[in-house]
Amino acid sequence: MSTLLRLKNVNLKYQTGKELIKVLQGIDLTTKRKETISIVGESGSGKTSLIMLIAGLEKATSGKIFFKGQEISKLNEDEVSQIRRKNIGIIFQSFYLIPNYTAVENVALTLELNKFKNPQQKAKSLLDRFGLKHRLNNLPSQLSGGEQQRVAIARAIAMKPELILADEPTGNLDSENSSMIANILFNFAKEEGSSLIIVTHDSKLANRAKRKIKIKDGKID
């Protein structure tokens, strides 16, 4: 398997008043295509910050980040957005569906952005696959937490990204829904050949990944 992502001596620091907070220190990480990875660690250890850097949503204070061989850490916001829209799907703990868009419209958003043909149709069939056929035209407020997260996953994976980043995807769900979401994610990654990086506190979910990375005090343990 070829390299998909490489982080080389990445550091992330925040200045809060006079205090300098070292969030991530000297992170070196290489992931392969189709690899499933879980990132675990205590609250405040830097797990979420790490996937924010990988997604290009945060700039590293120092170090280099390569995605498919391209150094994304020196690209501007729009160039990173361009890479993200085609290659990276992100799933959040709090789902974050656009509140005034229906389930189909939320999913079709990424398809339309990537100029897929028949985006509405593709979105519908994906939601159907996730057991949401009866919820296509419902607004997020009319969906349960599990349903919302399934829509969010559908939105993240609709354009078949090479990398799926999931931040505590089951954090707000009950065990039944958590299990369903985990199945959807891992099955999809396997079927479509996407890499999956999951940040989680859930050891059961973490253990389903082929590789497990532990972060402690901003460093890979």
């Binding site: 729009d78 005034n100 958003l109």
Partner: protein, 763 residues
Amino acid sequence: MEKLIKSNEFSLIIKYALIDLSRNYKKISSIIITLFISLFILSSILTIEDSLKKELNDNARALLGGDLEIDYNRVQGNLELVNEVKNFATISQMVEFSTMLSTVNKTNNQSLFTRVKTVDSNYPLFGEVIHEPAGALDRIHKEQNTILVNENIFKTLKLKINEKIKVQDQLFTVVGVVKTVPDVSGFIAFGDFALAGQQTLDLLKLNNLGSFLNYEYKVRFNNNNNQEVLKVRIEKLFKDDEKVILRYPENSASGLKRIINNFSQFLSLVSISAMLIAGIGIANTLLSFINQNNMSIAVRKAVGFFSLNIKAIYYLQLFILLFLITVAAYSLSFLIIPIVDIYLSQGLGLNIKPVISIFNFIKVFLVGLLVLIIFTIPTVSAIDQVKASNLFRNVFQNLQFYYSKKSIVLSLVLLSILILLFTIGSAKPIYSLGYFIAFFICLIIFFLLSKLIIYFFKSLKRISNIPLKVSIKNITQTKSITPITIMSLGLGVTLLLTLALVGTNFKREIAKSIPQIAPDYFFLGIQKDDRQVFEKNILSMDKNVNLEIVPIISSAIVKINSVDPTTFITPKNDSYWVIRSERRSSWTDTVPKDNPLVKGQWWDLTKPDRLQISLDAKVAADFNIQIGDIFTLNIYGREIEGTIVNFREVNYRDLSINFAMLFNPQFANNIPHEYLATAKFTADKKLNENKMLEVLPSLSIIKIADYLSKVTAVLDKVFIAVTLISTVTILIGLIVISSAILVQGKLKEFQNLVFKILGFSKK
């Protein structure tokens, strides 16, 4: 925008702009309302202005009374030339003069100063005289001593059809009432008037200056002739006649057009103030709207939307909204026309119809667009501050207005364009510019005032009362509504108060201050030989009367330093009236009390054989006249050169006797002249008008109070319109504040919840 959006992404932007707008319009209802109100006012003003001008242009011939007007002013003119015109056109001769109409055989007879129009049977050449009863217009041509009076004379003198009235020493029968005439001149529009047959001229004594005689010949070209050729022919015919003024339909109702231009300029400026106040609210509401969509914006960024694309979606929503609001505001402005039409048809006999103008629609849209962009640049730019990484942290920082150097420069450029749009092409650009400067100075003052209030409250440290402490915190915090409240309400109230103050002072000046110093009556047409009779009769009615009698002559400036005077000034200049036609002038030994000398010396008594002229200082400045310059005046057909020896400051508004030109008495006493008098009586009703008219039938008496009440009535209507429009700025200010409070409420939802948990009561 920093970059051009790719064309293939533009369709996506349009799609999402439409979806977002259709689902979020309720959240931006205050933007819709304030934008609509301000655009509706602007549309209404432009539509009324255009409809009025179109009516005036469409009826230009009727308003002028012909395809061309030959105006000889005081003299009958060259009838040979006029008769030559009759060979290829139809002519209607008209003589206007001012005189007194008095009732007879009533217990309490009354008189009215009236403008009488004597017309021939060809009148009117265009349009229609609306009168009652039918056939009355024909009677004034066929029957001697008959007259048609306007509705006001009919009501004021409590006349009946076929009742006798006195005009000078002649009895006339009132055969009907004129409602409107097509050739509306300024005088007829605002004063009382009557129509009489041409033979009336021979019955009355109309050779005095007080009659304000005016000979006009209205010309209608025969249909099958080329009008341009005929115009050129007439111009050639009259080219050597210095006394004639040829007028064309495009010059008709120029006074009315000037009033329309000035009034519409003023109202447009009030409406742009409303728009700018609305702009403050739009910026605030939009910021709140963007804050509410903070998460959606972050999600869009997370899935790969560029910041530019997201901003474009918001701009496009505003653009679509503006377009729809402009269409609605402009279309609904047509509903105003029938209301305005009621007032205009009553006052001027004009019937206006709505005029659809693409230019006006574009202007309204452009003004809206400029205001929208100017005020939304710092708001929409705030989208750059939204971070997709917030989605991982579940923390959304409230956005603030974002000013970059580029956006400030762009806002200033657009603001300049907006100001230019209202300044260039307006009737008085310098006034518009002054208005904008004053507006922005006020805006800055109110902004600084809000900062001062915040600073004051911040400095209050020792407050133990918790609700008061929280209230002060709300006023002083970064996102408080204090600045927006003070600016929007402050500007609206300032505008309304300024207009109310100007209006009240103006009316007070007219209604109270001026009459205190102004005379009660003006007396016109006192012949040289009648002066003593006049004086004796007035003094017999009130021996303590304050009577001022001055000589008057009529003269026209034909040259200035041997050059055509029209080369010194444009017709648009305020002082053009001095050379437009013959003017009345007078003479006096001493400097008039209310006309202080500002430059030069009073009369040089060593040169009694030279005409010396004292000139109004403003007129001198407008014509760029210097002391020592020579005016060539035409006085009763003789050209006399006079030297400008001094300038006086003349205030025509004090209603006392004022002249632009005064002559040295040593020279002027030899010129044939008559007298003009003013009188201020010690008590009301001391003057017996009818007795005066019996003694001096050709005397004209103008009661100042009557004219002041007419002017006040017109001003009242104007002020109602102005106040209504200004009130809208307050209304918009209130909408802005209420939306700001709503925004504040949304931001404070969480804080209020915490207060409740901590045990604060709702109260």
